[in-house]
Amino acid sequence: MDKDENVIIRAEGLAKSFGHTRALKGIDLTVRSGDFWLIFGPNGAGKSTLIGILATLLKQTKGKLTIDGIHSGNDIVELRRKIGVISHQTFLYGDLTAYENLSFYGRLYGIDNLKTKVTGMLAEMGLADWADERVRNFSRGMQQRLTIARALLHGPSILLLDEPGTGLDQHAMRHFYHLLGDLHSQKQTILMTSHNLTIGLERCTHLAILAGGRIVFSAQKSELDGKNFEEIYFYYTEKERK
């Protein structure tokens, strides 16, 4: 158990190699309950790898990871219960209805009162009228909302988002970040990666820059006050490139 009960993610020296490529070279990260972290980085910086490790889809080569008090080396199945993941793909089945998709995931997580839970979740995401419609016929924005419902259905301690904006138009993206902001104000802990500097900045509480497999900059947003984050970003990522 973590001494600090508020800590949701504690990562110490996380490193990951693929064959001879070192994708992550030692990541230290502490995410507390209620935080909204935004991790920026150029393509190939290791963002997807980081999310992959946090989501248990990848195993770190080195380092320790604890999520909500569970060590990743101990009970990986129990640990997965604590995580909700949203990627640029929806993880949904196009030929199942919205309701069927959610209840399928609900069964995988062994959720009680599934019917009420699913109906409630669909209503919350404004999809109640579309419950029995196949997901293939949904607009991208509706699919995105259903994706959020899918990721939150089991009440995860942390929501991990891996470049969720990819493929959304400006309008849908704005709406999506609005939803994320709402979730955060409901005390949902969030960690998100992105390469797009124009989005999400208003709502987050923490910012970090991932470049060349390292976190080269990290700060609370309040510390940043007034400074131009874009300049900081280019300063650090250009430095890493050299």
Partner: protein, 228 residues
């Protein structure tokens, strides 16, 4: 590294001598078989080749298991090296078996259980090598290879049993009793078995070193491109 070089060199010399000795024993030391004639000499190579084939595929299996347990790429290297050698040797088994069959039963192919099992194995491991060329990610390739290597080898005894029952009428020919081998023939066979095993170890060692060198070259390439 230097010491290793010397060891490989010495092993190479030993293998050369051993193979020369088995050639001598097969062609000069042993008498000509009465009914089969000169073709019977194939027997001193066919059997050791088949043994190396099975041994090589067993090493593929072992390398796969060890890779999955440890995650160390060197086991994948070992397994793949052994698979390549195994395919070469089993190809030779099929060819020598065919020549034998032509002389003995006047047909290029018989559905003899051993030969047919070897054919199926050959197909499994040719597929294994084809698959490796289709996957670029080193780790993924190693994992898939390991699983195919394990499933393929686990299949061997079942394939053999199935084919043997399927062809119950067929006489079991290559048993030492049935052939009534002369003592000198048996000696030649064992010498040949031993020297081919040596050859396998030698080839495996060289192939593994080559694989390691390729991995290191790959690593250097990536390091350099990181710098650029």
């Amino acid at each position: 590294m230097k010491k290793m070089d010397i060891a490989v060199f010495v092993l190479g010399i030993l293998t050369f001598l051993a193979i020369s000795l088995s050639l001598y024993m097969a062609f000069i030391y042993t008498p000509l078989e009465k009914t089969m004639g000169a073709v019977q000499k194939i027997f001193y190579f066919h059997l050791p080749l088949a043994w190396i084939g099975f041994l090589a595929f067993f090493i593929v299996f072992l390398g796969g298991v060890l890779y999955l347990i440890t995650g160390s790429i060197k086991w994948d290297n070992l397994a793949y090296s052994s698979a390549e050698i195994g395919v070469v040797f089993s190809t030779l088994v099929l060819i020598t078996g065919s020549i034998w069959a032509k002389r003995a039963w006047n047909t290029w192919w018989t559905w003899d259980p051993r030969l047919t099992t070897m054919l199926i194995l050959w197909m499994i491991y040719v597929g294994y090598i084809m698959m490796r060329n289709a996957v670029d990610n080193i780790e993924r390739r190693a994992k898939i290879s390991a699983v195919i290597g394990i499933a393929g080898f686990v299949d061997v005894p079942i394939v053999f049993m199935a084919i043997r029952w399927w062809r119950t009428m067929h006489p079991l020919l290559i048993t030492s009793k049935g052939m009534g081998l002369a003592p000198s023939m048996l000696t030649a066979l064992f010498v040949s078995l031993a020297s081919f095993t040596l050859l396998y170890v030698y080839l495996l060692l060289i192939r593994v070193r080559l694989g390691t060198a390729m991995n290191i070259a790959e690593e250097i390439k990536i390091r350099l491109s990181d710098k650029l």
